[in-house]
Symmetry: C2
Subunit: 224 residues, 2 copies
């Protein structure tokens, strides 16, 4: 499904080069459940952004379902992102002037579902993350963990087959975090592929495989 | 130092009332080290914002060093916030067009230190949180955990006697999180008062007292 081969990502800050990823080679098969761990700044979000087609590598190959992502044009990338990938951002990236409901509904707006069909699905997903009573609040009227759950709901609403979650429980207490992990468990059992970044060992242990990054490189790749 | 008595905070969303804090009575003495825990949405950040003079209660009393905060005018509140309180926000609140260095330096700009004196102190604090190599990056050029550490450095730069940290290790791996806890430990040993919100038990155990919130109320208040 996902084949990264000799991937490099180097940022440029003024004249300085920041090598965020070096020589990354990882294969992820359909229905896998993978956790990515590593110290702050080790390249986890950078790797997720490339897998999620939000950024392109400086060097190396990324094949998604056999297609070389670097050769796709913007429309094809946008299509993949909306149809196949659900992305939970480390910093949520919610639209501040829309309510939780509207933020979660957004990925459905250009789809084929009727307004009633959309609304039912939005309520179902908002309920699944425990936010029914907060659906009409805007992000500034929500707690940190509530915003995180809106971001999770929005990522899942289109029933993507690949779920990329960057520290999805970072702002959640252990009970609420466990409820989110239950959702991911069900989605994986249903055949979806899950890659989650976490710095918490007990969250990583929900996955069946743990890749550890260190300074932009793969330090270990362990299957349970 | 901090006396909350019968504190209520109720938000209004449209016509709906959201009772975020109910009947909170807590005393915090100088040099205490207190952790606040509780489920997502239980009122922790709301409580921190009131203690930090960033928001006012709907009802009840908050005395800081014997002065009723509700009776102070905006200038007096701004003075307290800049001189006495260092606040690490759950969502960092960094200025996007400034570098990490400039963000950390900001609270010093209106003070009495010379530019060289400021610069030395900024480098010292940036180094203490492990960000020397990233000082000239802007927030969008930093990882989540690096942004969190810029927020921490900025909160500490003015050497405030009261440190309020809202989930300061939420985006940090355990090693980096431990380094931050060491800094807090040293500051507390030096006589500063620390209140930190966390949902992680092993972080809360660094404190000497744990207050647990549930649905806006104090559910337990335990001294180690
Ligand atoms: N500006 C606001 N307007 C309306 N409701 C609000 C506002 N800010 C917070 N709330 C609500 O008040 C409650 C408490 O919010 P608060 O941010 O204090 O929670 P928290 O304990 O910090 O949660 P988390 O662990 O998720 O950060 C939440 O249910 C939230 O939806
Ligand atoms: N746009 C950018 N420009 C320059 N450097 C960047 C940029 N984005 C990230 N970096 C740097 O690349 C490195 C990897 O960043 P990344 O966000 O992938 O780390 P991370 O593993 O997700 O960290 P964290 O656990 O703190 O979220 C960091 O050292 C960061 O400073
Ligand atoms: Mg990250
Ligand atoms: Mg909060």
């Amino acid at each position: 499904l996902i084949e990264l081969d000799g991937l490099f990502k180097t940022y440029e800050v003024g004249t300085q080069k920041v090598p965020a990823l070096k020589n990354i080679t990882i294969d992820v098969k359909e229905t896998e459940y993978l956790a990515i761990m590593g110290p702050s700044g080790s390249g986890k979000s950078t790797l997720m952004n490339i897998i999620g087609c939000l950024d392109i590598p400086t060097e190396g190959s990324y094949r998604l379902k056999g297609r070389e992502v670097g050769t796709l044009d913007d429309d094809e990338l946008a299509e993949i992102r909306s149809a196949e990938i659900g992305f939970v951002f480390q910093t949520f990236n919610l639209l501040p002037r829309m309510t939780a409901f509207q933020n979660v509904e957004l990925p459905l707006i250009y789809g084929r579902a009727s307004r009633k069909g959309r609304s039912d699905r939005v309520w179902e997903t908002i309920d699944a993350v425990g936010l029914k009573e907060r659906a009409h609040h805007r992000p500034s009227e929500l707690s940190g963990g509530q915003r995180q759950r809106v971001a999770i709901a929005r990522a899942l609403i289109n029933r993507p087959s690949i779920i990329l979650a960057d520290e999805p429980t970072g702002n959640l207490d252990s009970t609420t975090g466990e409820e989110i992990m239950q959702i991911f468990r069900q989605l994986n059992n249903a055949g979806n592929t899950i890659i989650l970044v976490t710095h918490e060992q007990y969250i990583a242990e929900h996955a069946r495989r743990i890749v550890k990054l260190l300074d932009g490189e793969v330090a270990s790749d362990t299957t349970a």
